[in-house]
């Protein structure tokens, strides 16, 4: 597969793990099948999901095209079509299908896609936040007080007396959901900024300005993603308590 240039030097270099067909030992030039003996080739374990699905490392993805590619590759790799083949080919088909399915699932979802790209580009997994982000501090604190009050009151009091508390929690929830939507809008901005940077890096030599820009975007992504996850967990808890 043709290697798309990515933005700036990566910490993890892509390895083309195979250079030779496992079966006929000829040099493989085909993407997924040996051009000599037409045997399926194992996808490299180091292959990143974008490359696996033939996509540039962008954050805005054409979902229709992604699905079409996924379906085409599924027809190439799925174990159903290797039933009459050798054990080695069946094992490769199984491994390739598993990788393809995980790649598709990850890239289909914008949040998982961004988290994955962050891992590829910045070399580490997402941050797990244990305390509320600064700009949400007061809202979360207020919510936690309301929740505590509700938890204590819920078993003893009658439904009518709980109504004002419930209304308060509902409004807390609405407010938090509004904050989540705001975060997602900011994420969309960062997605665009990343894709723009990617285009610039392809057409011009990479300079310090681009390098700095890249660091800023990745840092912003990391922060937003972890804040969003934190907020989502809070909302899930809230919904669970109220149900």
């Amino acid at each position: 597969m043709e290697q798309k240039p990515t933005v700036l030097p990566k910490r993890t270099e892509l390895h083309m793990a195979r250079s030779m067909c496992w079966h006929c030992q000829s040099e493989v030039t085909g993407e997924y099948f040996c051009e000599q003996c037409v045997k399926v080739q194992p996808l490299s374990k180091e292959l990143d999901y974008f490359t696996c699905l033939g996509l540039p490392r962008l954050l805005n993805i054409d979902l229709e095209a992604l699905e079409a590619k996924f379906y085409t590759l599924s027809r190439s790799f799925h174990p159903d079509f290797y039933h009459n083949k050798t054990d080695s080919e069946q094992a490769i088909s199984l491994g390739n299908s598993a990788l393809l399915n995980i790649a598709y699932r990850t890239l289909k979802d914008p949040i998982q896609r961004a988290e994955y790209l962050l891992k590829l580009e910045a070399g580490s997994a997402k941050d797990i936040r244990t305390s509320p982000p600064a700009d949400l501090f007061e809202e979360i604190l207020a919510l936690q007080e309301d929740l505590e009050e509700y938890r204590q009151a819920a078993p003893s009091q009658n439904q009518a007396a709980l109504e004002p508390l419930k209304a308060k929690l509902a409004s807390d929830r609405e407010q938090l959901e509004q904050r989540q939507r705001e975060m997602e809008l900011r994420l969309a901005d960062l997605f665009n900024a990343w894709d723009l940077l990617h285009a610039q890096a392809e057409s011009a030599p990479v300079d310090d300005r681009l390098r700095k820009e890249r660091e800023t975007i990745l840092k912003g992504l990391r922060e937003l993603l972890s804040n969003r996850t934190y907020l989502r967990n809070i909302i899930t808890d809230l919904v669970a308590v109220m149900a």
Partner: protein, 606 residues
């Protein structure tokens, strides 16, 4: 390429189907019925399976096994609340239920294997060739243990189980083949013992499952039980009899409850009739569809929340579903259809016979595997999250539910103590936070070299294959050596046990043959007896009284032999009757020939 067949191994009925060119067809038995009741009777003469076994439910309740699918991959504790409905005795050994019949015990896969063998024989008789490779369907919401148990059943039956596929997705293949549908479909599958909902996207021959949900312990059996409980209560009130103390009457009651339920799908009222023991006469009760619906309404309601969860997981609103397909005999109930229609806001499809559609779909999948059908591909999902137990008894998920299969996850393990040589791993399936609330699939010990704590690094790969079955491999990262893992299933048979059961099944096969031969001989004896009686009626006056007496005598000894258990004796008496009636047959033949000739002459007269 040998032919591969498709099998629907159902709670109540099982079917086998094959691909006839481009059309899947179910294979009917001698009586023309495609469905084989999933009932196994252990008579003194060996095994009887299917329709003839069903007769033994009342005659021989403790030795006649039905609905065994409810026990596949289960422990005794899983089914404790329904034990009272079963006349046969159950206990547990090695985490697996064992069914006690007389002196012997059988695991659920062994009983299922007997049903599979019956289907195999039927297909072999129909196709005139050996049958080995099969695709077997399971409820989509079956967990790993239940799938593995189904695969074991196939092995014990001497079959090569090439694929386990989900029942609702199999049904979608049958529908897709017929209609070339595109779009989003929901398959609502309510069978005898299980419920599944699957949401699929059909596009250019790809059947992509988006989400699935269900309940592997909810189906027509449960509807029957509401009727049983009602009738038990009323009979006790009316006659003071506790029918539940009579195993045979309970089976008669169960079968009548099932018939009442079935009749009320077409009629708005019907009568339940139960013969009571102890000379208490007959209990009769009129039952209306409305009354039945009141009884089962809550049960039907319980199918709807899995539907909503599946929609949520698929990220869809009910209105975004283009087509709804009904599968399983229980979807014949008008109230089920109504509730499904209300939920999705459209009239559900039921063009294909809901009893046969799963087997037909299995045949299509079999044809895909053998390379016949190439334009269709099924991308199914794993129904339950898979994880491992971590510190503090918490479940740490590795593969989320509704992930497209095959799929895999890797986890790195190390040691906590210097010189530790093994790490215990407990594999779980389910959606709950705590390990104890989830299904325990298996445990295994990972071997590690004795090194300072934290130094060993063993990578374990959990791979769910296209059957939805888990495979575990481990690799020492430092030495790059793979290690084989002996996984001890929590609720499954070990490889050794399966081996032993395969051996035993050959022994059963001999007994099967004996039972089959007896049934066939008895059926033939009955046919000959009827024909002879008829011949005596027609031509008794044409032969002497001595001859008539001889024929009568031979018939009597035939009847006596039929009541016995030796098929050879029955065959010998059949031959006897044929010999004694030889002359009578000739006389009748002559007479009818003469008559025929006379008629002809008469007709030919101008």
């Amino acid at each position: 390429m040998a032919r591969i067949l498709g099998i629907d191994l159902g709670t109540t009925n099982s079917l086998i189907a094959y691909m006839d060119g481009k059309t899947p067809r179910v294979i009917a038995g001698k009586q023309g019925r495609a469905m084989v009741p999933s009932v196994v009777a252990m008579t003194d003469n060996g095994l009887i399976v299917g329709d003839p076994a069903k007769e033994h439910l009342v005659r021989n309740p403790e030795r006649t096994i039905y609905s065994v699918k409810r026990f596949m991959g289960k422990s005794l504790a899983d089914v404790s609340d329904e034990l009272k409905y079963f006349p046969y005795k159950l206990h547990e050994q090695g985490g697996v239920i064992r069914i006690q019949v007389g002196e012997k015990t059988y695991s659920p896969p062994q009983i299922s294997a007997m049903i599979l063998k019956e289907l195999k024989l039927r297909a072999e008789a129909h196709l005139g060739e050996d049958v080995r490779g099969v695709v077997i369907t399971v409820p989509a919401y079956f967990n790993d243990s239940q799938r593995q148990a189904t695969k074991d059943a196939g092995m014990i039956a001497g079959l090569d189980v090439l694929r386990i596929i989900n029942e609702p997705t199999a049904a979608s293949l049958a529908y897709g083949l017929q209609q070339k549908t595109q779009g989003t479909i929901a398959v609502y599958d309510l069978g005898g013992g299980t419920f599944d909902i699957s949401i699929l996207k059909l596009k250019q021959g790809i059947f992509e499952v988006l989400a699935t949900n269900g309940n592997t312990h909810l189906g027509g059996d449960d509807f029957d039980r509401t009727i049983i409980d009602l009738l038990l209560h009323e009979i006790r009130a009316e006659s003071g009899l506790d029918l539940s103390q009579y195993a045979d009457q309970m089976q008669a009651l169960r079968l009548e409850a099932e018939r009442v339920k079935i009749r009320l799908s077409d009629d708005v009222k019907t009568q339940a009739t139960i013969e009571l023991p102890e000379g208490k006469g007959t209990f009769r009760r009129e039952m209306t569809r409305e009354q039945l619906e009141a009884l089962v309404s809550d049960l039907i309601e319980r199918t709807l929340s899995p539907c909503r969860l599946a929609l949520k997981d698929a990220g869809l609103q009910p209105s975004q579903i283009d087509e709804v397909v009904l599968v399983g005999g229980s979807t014949r109930m008008p109230l089920v259809r109504q509730r499904v229609q209300d939920l999705f806001g459209k009239v559900p499809h039921c063009e294909l016979n809901p009893d046969e559609v799963v087997a037909l779909g299995a045949a299509v999948q079999a044809d895909i595997l053998s390379g016949g059908t190439q334009d269709m591909l099924l991308l199914d999902v794993t129904p339950l999250s898979l994880g491992i137990e971590t510190m503090g008894g918490v479940m740490s998920p590795l593969i989320r539910r509704n992930t497209t299969i095959p799929t895999s996850a890797k986890e790195m393990f190390t040691t906590y103590v210097d010189g530790q040589t093994s790490v215990d791993i407990h594999i779980l399936q389910g959606e709950r936070e705590l390990a104890k609330d989830n299904r325990s699939l298996a445990r295994f010990q990972l071997k590690v070299p004795p090194l300072p704590a934290g130094v060993p690094r063993v990578e374990v790969q959990f791979l769910i294959d296209a059957n939805g079955i888990l495979n575990v491999t481990a690799k020492d990262v430092r030495t790059n050596q793979t290690q084989s893992i002996e996984v001890k299933p929590s609720h499954g048979l070990t490889d050794d046990e399966v081996e032993r059961m395969i051996g035993e099944s050959f022994k059963f096969a001999a007994e099967d043959l004996k039972a089959r031969q007896l049934i066939e001989a008895r059926t033939e004896a009955e046919a000959i007896r009827k024909a002879t009686e008829k011949a005596l009626g027609l031509g008794g006056h044409l032969i002497g009284p001595e001859e008539t007496r001889a024929i009568r005598a031979s018939l009597e000894s035939l009847t006596a032999a039929s009541a016995g258990e030796d098929h050879r004796a029955v065959r010998a008496r059949i031959a006897d009757v044929e010999k004694t009636t030889h002359h009578l047959a000739e006389v009748l033949m002559d007479t009818s020939l003469k008559e025929a000739l006379q008629n002809k002459k008469l007709e030919e007269l101008p």
